[in-house]
């Protein structure tokens, strides 16, 4: 395809040769023509055999929402009308800067006065075996779309490698075209460059709801097939069948031509503010350039670059100053917007709005009274408004309180005071959408004595479900009562308006399954929580979903992540389990060997009848555990919010006062309850007679043996506020004692707040409540016990053995070692 106007001898104008018939090259020519249509004679070389089209609209073409004709920017008539020669389908393969000529693959040579390189970018192909098999393609041009459409006609399975913007658009199109699509994404969150964890989670949910399979944290090992692609194999061994594989893992500036010509090239072709390369006769524009250290892979910067370029070409230079970019996912029905920097940091303030019922997540990041970033999911109507404020660096302090509600709210009628905005609402305005409560109902409920948020939630139910109207209710309380508002129960932390009990109740009621889901559905005000709420949520989910919930290691306190106790010097102490406080020569020898082998400076007998080995380096922990495991010992959980120790006295087997086999019972109870995660640490003791040598009456669960059976005591602890136990009941047999113990542990696990020990919990709920649940209600007790045993069937897995075998080695080994002397040597 060639349009070559006859060159007249009279045409002595400078010749501008453009390499690249894409969006950047043609836009630059358009800008030039708009300024001075007669100044240059123009020739454009394009690698693709077609006219200039809008590459970013390939996704709608794939999805069947547009045709190729719809996305053509400049048709053949435009080239002809402007006297532009188009050489399409014969790409330039060499530049001779000394002779000022370019040469095409077909052998044609053209001389230039000014050369513009607009070669764009190349898709990055990950170097795995099978990458060259037929059926493995990128998603870059119309030929790729044609290949995908042909594959979709045949039906079957497609795999898209890369869960970024382009990959998800490809997956969406293929899915609409009837293929069964699996997206493989290396990172834990989709579109992690544009979206934060919360928005990424919502997006994943939505795409899965549309029938796509999304595998995050999945690393491609190879593409398999005999003569054509047949599937993708992951590093974990999973094989996913596929007749089509689309690689959309990223793009790289296309710089080979420029580099071969000896131009200055960094990550892209280096240009100045006027898009001039290291050779003053050669310019470059678009995705192939590097300006001020930045490389852009989005369309918006092109427009600014092309303006500056054209200004320079007509000798009225203005200069390009870099671009701030925003992105929008073109998947119909899923609205995602992101702009600027959303990584937070110092002085940055997050304003977060979550509306679970509408599936909306909005986050605006403000620094020094200016918007620096925005992430919107579900409602992107205000994306352009935020982006505008961001680009103009406008002071938003006056809008601050209403900013997150969007432009119509924030700039409406100067009502910049949220209280004034609430005051201005009519009595029949709906405050709580979940429970259909109007402003009038909330105000009358406050007037009748509900003087706290909790009281309002308890009476008229406003803000009792998703909590998104909490701010409105608080403003109504303040308006109605002034200073008489009573503080509600303590919230879990500053990230939420809900207390622990509310969060736990909703986790179960709404069957929530992950931390990001809880944060979204309960309107967390921070993107990824804090060091208070994350461990609590992790525990609540673990407790609610035994065997199903995957523990989030990064939401664990250090001791539970390292399975040892951190000491003030950064070393760890290690306590192997000794069932019921019993030990033997093999275990003692193994402990002695570990102490010597790893130079542990101290060994200490603990209050819970164990041996504590001090001063172990984190790198040595797996080796220490391997040695202890070899002698039959497992983790003592001395580090956890978990069952710590069962302390015993010697009992009837040896002691002249002993009434029952307290050591034997202690061992059985420890075998039953070890490994269980709890709201806080949990200690048990069994004493063989009322002399109580095992100090059972200051333990969370204590058994005191008597001639006629077993006294069961609960809710004791030592510590700052010593509390003796309450007597729960007396039982006749060992089995009953164990059953009551299991039921009590489970009640505590399910109902106490995170970091609340049994003593304050029982003082809060009353020992009568505990007796009613454990002693009086036999069926309830049995159900609690059964739930505990189910949970235990998943948690009695020695974490030391897993680590000793190499699991999660990154927790122990340093990433690198730096030895300055050797480097110098």
């Amino acid at each position: 395809m060639e349009h070559r106007p006859i060159k007249t001898d009279a045409d002595t104008r400078d010749h501008l040769v453009v390499i690249g018939n894409g969006m950047a090259g043609c836009r630059a020519v358009e800008e030039l023509l708009a300024r001075d249509p007669a100044r240059y004679r123009v020739t454009i070389f394009g690698a693709e055999p077609r006219v200039n089209y809008n590459r970013i609209m390939l996704s709608p073409v794939l999805a069947g929402e547009k045709s190729f004709d719809d996305i053509v920017i400049n048709d053949a008539d435009w080239y002809a009308a402007n006297g532009i020669a188009l050489v399409a389908g014969d790409p330039v393969v060499a530049i001779d800067r000394a002779a000022r000529t370019v040469t095409t693959r077909g052998g044609a040579t053209e001389s230039y006065d000014r050369l513009l390189i607009a070669t764009g970018s190349d898709p990055f192909i990950i170097p795995v075996p099978g990458k060259d098999l037929p059926g493995v393609i990128a998603f870059r041009d119309m030929d790729d779309v044609d290949t995908m459409l042909a594959a979709a006609d045949a039906g079957g399975d497609a795999v898209v490698i890369g869960g970024g913007l382009l990959g998800l658009e490809a997956a969406h199109g293929l899915s609409l075209r009837g293929m069964k699509v699996t997206v493989i994404h290396l990172m834990p969150t989709l579109m992690e460059r544009q979206l934060d964890e919360a928005a990424g989670w919502l997006l994943k949910q939505a795409l899965e709801g549309r029938g796509q399979t999304i595998l995050t944290g999945a690393d491609t090992a190879e593409i398999v097939g005999d003569g054509k692609v047949e599937g993708v194999k992951l590093k974990d061994g999973t094989l996913i069948p596929a007749s089509l594989v689309v690689m959309a893992v990223g793009i790289r500036p296309s710089v080979a031509l420029a580099r071969d010509a000896g131009l200055a090239v960094g990550r892209g072709i280096q240009v100045d503010d006027h898009m001039v390369t290291s050779d003053p006769h050669v310019l470059a524009v678009g995705e192939c350039v590097e300006h001020d250290g930045q490389v852009y892979g989005l369309v918006a910067p092109l427009w600014d670059m092309c303006r500056s370029l054209a200004d320079g070409l007509v000798e009225q230079p203005t200069g390009y100053r870099g671009s701030v970019t925003s992105t929008k996912l073109k998947v119909s029905g899923i609205d995602v917007f992101s702009a600027g920097d959303f990584s937070g940091g110092d002085g940055c303030e997050d304003i977060v709005l979550r509306d679970a019922s509408r599936g909306v997540y909005k986050r605006v990041i403000v620094k020094d009274d200016r918007i620096v970033g925005a992430v919107l999911y579900g409602d992107t109507a205000d994306g352009s408004w935020y982006f505008d404020l961001l680009k103009k660096q406008e002071d938003v302090s006056d809008l601050r309180d209403l900013l997150i509600f969007g432009q119509s709210f924030a700039s409406g009628g100067g009502a910049a005071d949220p209280k004034a905005a609430v005051a201005a609402l009519s009595d029949d305005a709906e405050i709580c959408g979940c429970n259909g409560v109007t402003k009038g109902q909330v105000v009358s409920c406050i007037a009748k004595g509900a003087h706290s948020l909790d009281a309002v939630r308890g009476t008229c139910k406003a803000s009792a479900s998703c909590g998104s109207c909490t701010g409105l209710v608080e403003n109504l309380l303040a308006l109605t009562l002034g200073d008489d508002v009573q503080a509600g129960p303590k919230t879990m932390c500053k990230c939420t308006s809900f207390g622990h009990d509310d969060v736990r109740r909703e986790i179960v009621a709404q069957a929530m399954r992950s931390i990001p889901e809880v944060m979204q559905k309960l309107h967390w005000t921070t993107p990824d929580g804090c060091s208070s709420c994350r461990p609590a949520l992790n525990y609540y989910l673990l407790c609610a979903l035994p065997g199903e919930y995957v523990d989030d290691q990064q939401s664990r306190f250090v001791n539970e992540r390292m399975h040892a106790n951190i000491q003030k010097d950064g070393t760890y102490s290690v306590v192997p389990r000794m069932w019921g406080g019993l030990t033997n020569p093999t275990e003692l020898r193994a402990i002695a060997d570990v102490v010597e082998k790893f130079n542990a400076p101290m060994v200490k007998v603990t209050g819970g009848q164990r041996l504590d080995i001090f001063g172990i380096k984190k790198e040595d922990l797996p080796a220490v555990w391997a040695d202890l495991n070899a002698a039959g010992m497992v983790s003592g959980h001395a580090y956890g919010k978990s069952l710590r120790t069962v302390k015993t006295c010697v009992g009837s087997e040896w002691c002249r006062f002993g009434t029952q086999d307290s050591t034997g019972l202690g061992v059985k109870i420890e075998r039953m309850s070890w490994g269980s995660w709890m709201p806080h640490k949990f200690k048990i003791a069994v004493s063989g007679c009322p002399r109580n040598c095992a100090e059972a009456t200051i333990k969370d669960f204590g058994i005191v043996c008597v001639d006629s059976g077993y006294e069961l005591h609960v809710g004791g602890n030592g510590g700052i506020h010593v509390r003796a136990t309450d007597l729960l009941c007396k039982v006749a047999t060992e089995q009953e004692a164990m059953d009551h113990c299991a039921a009590f542990i489970q009640l505590y696990r399910e109902e106490a707040r995170y970091l609340e020990r049994t003593a304050p919990w029982i003082e809060r709920v009353g020992v009568d409540y505990v007796k009613a649940r454990i002693v009086d209600d036999a069926a309830g007790r049995e159900a609690l016990r059964a739930r505990f045993l189910v949970s235990q069937s998943f948690s009695q897995d020695d974490p030391w053995a897993q680590r000793a075998e190499g699991a999660e080695a990154e927790h122990h080994a340093p990433m690198a070692r730096f030895i300055p002397q050797e480097e110098l040597a």
């Binding site: 937070g344 940091g345 997050d350 990064q554 306190f557 250090v558 951190i566 990154e810 340093p814 690198a816």
Partner: protein
């Protein structure tokens, strides 16, 4: 090959998201390298300004880490203690190149000394 000013310490993916790894410096303190939920990488001396707790062992949230010893919150970008607490941990400039994490050699030596 590492350029003289920057030390190549490994792949970004080697650091857990919302987690940390350490770089041992012979004859000095460790450097802690963090990766936030947003994928940003920061490097700090692995020592809380309060009682010298190992920041690498703390919980990473937002752009901060909570020290494992007494829960001081330290900004990953400036090393300053946040909230009511006062103190500062030396930071080490980081750059990412083609998925590799590079830390500033001079700052590493100065911080670890």
């Amino acid at each position: 090959m590492t350029t003289p000013e920057w030390l190549d310490i490994g792949w970004v993916d080697q650091i857990p998201v919302r987690g940390s790894r350490t770089v041992q410096v012979e004859g000095g303190d460790d450097i802690a390298v963090f990766r936030t939920a947003e994928g940003k990488i920061f490097a700090l001396l692995d020592r809380c300004p309060h009682k010298h707790g190992r920041l690498s062992q703390g919980i990473v949230h937002g752009g901060a880490v909570a020290c494992p010893l007494h829960n001081w919150r330290i900004s990953l970008s400036t090393g300053e203690a946040l909230g009511e607490d006062k103190g500062c941990t030396p930071t080490v400039p980081v750059k990412i190149d083609a998925g590799r994490v590079l830390i500033c050699r001079a700052s590493t030596l100065k911080a670890a000394a």
